[in-house]
């Protein structure tokens, strides 16, 4: 007797048993229906489920509290005119689209998660990377910026992937994540020469001078340098990603959904890119 046949036999037996014991079957079906109803009614946001108090407060008071460490221009900087920068602009734009007033609360980096945990702020936008150790109670949005290591090369000989570097020379900033990645690539490719520079700008200068085919540097340095040097191009994707994300409390399911929707809208309509271009 093959397996399919056995399963069919088992199913027939079960149906037969159900016919023989209609009351038991009814009780079982009713039990399952009750369980399903309980599951539906206790889902987040359902009448008997947990409510998102943060979202509710935000909607009633028309406010939004955002935590960041203003110690990292051009992402966030504390000036006499207030907190300015890329992350401040994203926070204000999210608030504007949610129809609430954004208040940015300044805090040291080490206090960010504590402030989120105790509810001082509704979300954090401060160069945070996904941290599995916090994921029990923190929800991270899709990235708003990738600050990783990117290949920069000359437009007439573009290098966009690390595999393109076989037999070539890459310039890196000493001891950076790019340097460490290049050492890994060196072991995987047939040949790769590494030129080390003290600063990322010097690594890109090596490409301009023809001493290297590409530079592997962080996106922030690359964007700032390329804004003043149009004889270089940057690969579209990072070779070593370092994604910055917004952190919210996992329990704030409605706030999470709304913020992620707004972030997706900002990405789709070009607002996010415009903000990034404004600062980098």
């Amino acid at each position: 007797m093959n397996r399919a046949h056995a399963l069919r036999h088992r199913a027939r037996q079960t149906v037969h048993a159900a016919r023989q014991h209609p009351r038991l079957t009814l009780i079982a079906i009713a039990g399952l229906a009750l369980l399903a109803a309980a599951w539906v009614l206790t889902r987040p946001g359902a009448p008997f489920g947990p409510q998102d108090g943060t979202w509710r407060r935000s909607q009633i008071n028309r406010d939004l509290y955002v935590g960041l460490d203003p110690n990292y221009p051009p992402f966030a900087e504390w000036t006499p005119d207030g907190i300015i920068g890329l992350e401040a602009d994203i926070a204000h734009e999210i608030g504007r689209r949610l129809g609430v007033k954004t208040s940015i609360l300044i805090m040291g980096y080490d206090g960010l998660y504590d402030a989120l945990y105790i509810g001082t702020v509704d979300f954090l936008i401060s160069g945070l990377r996904r941290n599995p150790a916090y994921e029990e109670w923190v929800h991270y949005t899709p990235p708003y910026f990738d600050a990783g290591q990117v290949l920069v090369s000359r437009p007439d000989a573009p290098v966009t992937r690390w595999r393109d570097l076989d037999g070539k020379t890459v310039a890196v900033e000493i001891a950076s994540a790019g340097d460490q990645a290049a050492q890994r690539w060196q072991r995987r490719l047939h040949a790769l020469d590494i030129v080390r520079a003290m600063l990322p700008q010097e690594a890109m200068q090596a490409v301009q001078a023809g001493e290297a085919d590409a530079a592997l540097v962080d996106v922030v340095s690359a964007r700032l340098y390329l804004a003043e040097h149009d004889d270089l191009v940057m690969a579209e994707d990072t070779a070593v990603p370092e994604e910055f994300v917004i952190a919210l409390r996992e329990e704030n399911f409605r706030m999470i959904a709304e913020v992620e929707d707004v972030l997706a809208e900002m990405r789709a309509d070009g607002t996010l890119d415009a903000i990034i271009d404004r600062w980098l």
Partner: protein, 387 residues
């Protein structure tokens, strides 16, 4: 007729009984397995090691105070040895040893000392903090762990005496208190060089009574340019001057110094209005002015930070260059004994990003390029990070 258990069970089809039976068995197995957890890592001491180094001034400040697992203590110290650092500075808080007044618990300190000794490392012990019982009750006054009044100097000094009596033969010396020129390190009170000098004098006498050979280190002042003692901090240079005025000379065998480079190179010249690495030379001038230039200096905290988010940090390559230059300078100064980098590794880096970017090794023991560079320097190897 009331159905009996037997009559109900006889109506349930055998297929359901069988499935239910297996589910119950599975549940029992799961419940039985639940309390099973991996055994703690067994730590074997291993044969005694020696540090291989060409630069004995290389030293690191470890943070094993809050390291719970013994294998991590051992691993940390073995990595220090492999890097070529012959000395560590470690913090031994008073409340950890004397949680209850008059009853010492040395277990954790013993563990650290045992593994340091086995790795061939010299230890400079930093002593500080105050247990609950030596501070006012919370209902009277809310105080921090750094709040020590003169009423409890005797009790702190008793701890210093007991510590030196226990470990005096195997340590280089003890540092009395940490950064007393910062209000936050002085119980959130205005700083008080005269009061600190009193504490230092008493501690010195007690430590030497317990072991005449122990090096008592004073100062450990935070590098700061703040000129006003009434505020949150007082310039380290001014503080040291007032220590001498208060009679500190002769009550410390060495000056412990904290000197950080922040964004400036190691060679940046000393300037009273600037916090940089060579600020230590200003402290040395004060010592000379008070006729105390025979007293050596131990730099017990120093270094550069390469946090990409911090405005007071440098790039990773600059950090390596400045650090190695600092070692060379210290070795050229006849009055300095060590240069201890803050910090080697912190047990948990999630909530302490600044210290995580000062660390040479991550909390999960991933070595950072600066570790490899210092190791190459200390052991006379070719540097893996050269321009």
């Amino acid at each position: 007729m009331i159905p009996t258990l037997h009559s109900i069970s006889s109506r349930v089809p055998p297929a359901i009984w069988r499935t239910g039976g297996w589910l119950v068995r599975l549940l029992i197995v799961l419940i039985a397995l639940r309390p099973i957890t991996p055994a703690p890592a067994h730590v074997t001491l291993g044969p005694p090691q020696t540090v291989e180094t060409q630069h004995p001034a290389v030293c690191v400040h470890t943070r094993l105070t809050d390291e719970v697992e013994e294998w991590k203590v051992q691993r940390t110290l073995s990595m220090v040895r492999e890097m070529g650092a012959s000395t560590i500075v470690e913090f031994f808080p008073w409340p950890y040893a004397e949680h209850d007044e008059g009853r010492y618990d040395w277990a954790h300190f013993d563990r650290i000392m045992l593994h340091a000794r086995n790795q061939g490392l010299s230890v400079i012990a930093r002593l500080g903090l105050v247990p609950d019982w030596a501070r006012p009750p919370v209902v009277e006054k809310v105080t921090t762990l750094t709040y020590l009044t003169e009423d409890y100097y005797d009790e702190f000094v008793d701890f210093v005496r007991a510590f030196v009596a226990r470990y005096g033969d195997e340590i280089v010396g003890v540092i009395i208190w940490n950064e007393p020129n910062l209000g936050i390190e002085w119980g959130n009170r205005p700083v008080d060089p005269e009061a600190y000098t009193g504490l230092l004098r008493q501690s010195y006498t007690a430590a030497h009574a317990a072991n005449p050979d122990v090096v008592v280190m004073g100062g450990a002042l935070a590098p700061t340019v703040n000129p006003d003692a009434s505020g949150s901090a007082l310039s380290d240079v001014d503080f040291l001057e007032r220590m001498y005025e208060a009679g500190a000379k002769g009550y410390f065998d060495a000056l412990a110094v904290h000197t950080y480079g922040f964004t400036r190179p190691a060679q940046d010249p000393p300037d009273p209005d600037v916090v940089n690495f060579r600020r230590v030379e200003l402290l040395r001038e004060v010592m000379a002015r008070y006729g105390d230039d025979a007293t050596p200096v131990y730099i017990t905290e120093s270094g550069w930070n390469d946090d990409p988010r911090w405005t007071n940090a440098v790039r990773p390559g600059q950090r390596i260059v400045y650090t190695l230059e600092a070692f060379e300078m210290v070795e050229a100064w006849p009055w300095t004994e060590t240069l201890c980098l803050w910090n080697f590794r912190i047990p948990f880096d999630l909530n302490n990003r600044r210290d995580a970017y000062y660390a040479l090794v991550s909390s999960d023991f991933h070595i950072r390029p600066v570790y490899e560079a210092v190791q190459a320097y200390a052991r006379g190897w070719e540097s893996p990070y050269l321009p």
